[in-house]
Amino acid sequence: AQSVAQPEDQVNVAEGNPLTVKCTYSVSGNPYLFWYVQYPNRGLQFLLKYITGDNLVKGSYGFEAEFNKSQTSFHLKKPSALVSDSALYFCAVRDISFNKFYFGSGTKLNVKP
């Protein structure tokens, strides 16, 4: 079965420092991986996806993610965090039936001034 794991419930980082939000996956077949962000009282907003090609994927708001097949990871990164990046981040993998996503448990990112 497809699944993703986000090992950290919370990540704290100072503004201006680099941030990493971790995600590992388990899939049958080729992995289609996604990152979404959820701000308070808002829906999920798409950040980026990995389908095929370059292992480093660039997305919205300066975020990027690195696909690592050997480590089955898809960590979300940003070189310089902003206070406004504080939100809940979800990693997701698509089901082999293409009909649904499996979401991780979410990681709360706190960026302090």
Binding site: F34, F90, S97, N99, K100, F103, G106
Partner: protein, 115 residues
């Protein structure tokens, strides 16, 4: 920029009552989904819908749930007899083509509170 919209933003109901949650997907999208997020838990898939029929549903989506696309724009989730454990945030999503290639666009959610 086109977006998925949902109404109402918050619905409070009594246990045993029927509720209908409404969604307007992005206009050129063909695939529609409902997910739910119980407070503090992960987002869970409920159902996917394509070509006016359910493509797939999870074990959560039992006989108390139904979906409908009553016209060319709305996509609804009905819960016939709500239970306390149905209290959650319900998200509608749509995608242009098959979800594996195209990302799903999510609405802002409807918070359902069952008393």
């Amino acid at each position: 920029e086109p977006e998925v919209t949902q109404t109402p933003s918050h619905q409070v109901t009594q246990m045993g009552q029927e509720v209908i949650l409404r969604c307007v997907p992005i206009s050129n999208h063909l695939y529609f989904y409902w997910y739910r997020q119980i407070l503090g838990q992960k987002v869970e898939f409920l159902v996917s819908f394509y070509n006016n029929e359910i493509s797939e549903k999870s074990e959560i989506f039992d006989d108390q749930f139904s979906v409908e696309r009553p016209d060319g724009s709305n996509f609804t989730l009905k819960i016939r007899s709500t239970k306390l454990e149905d209290s959650a945030m319900y998200f509608c999503a749509s995608s242009e083509r098959v979800a594996g290639v195209n990302e799903q666009f999510f609405g802002p959610g409807t918070r359902l509170t069952v008393l």
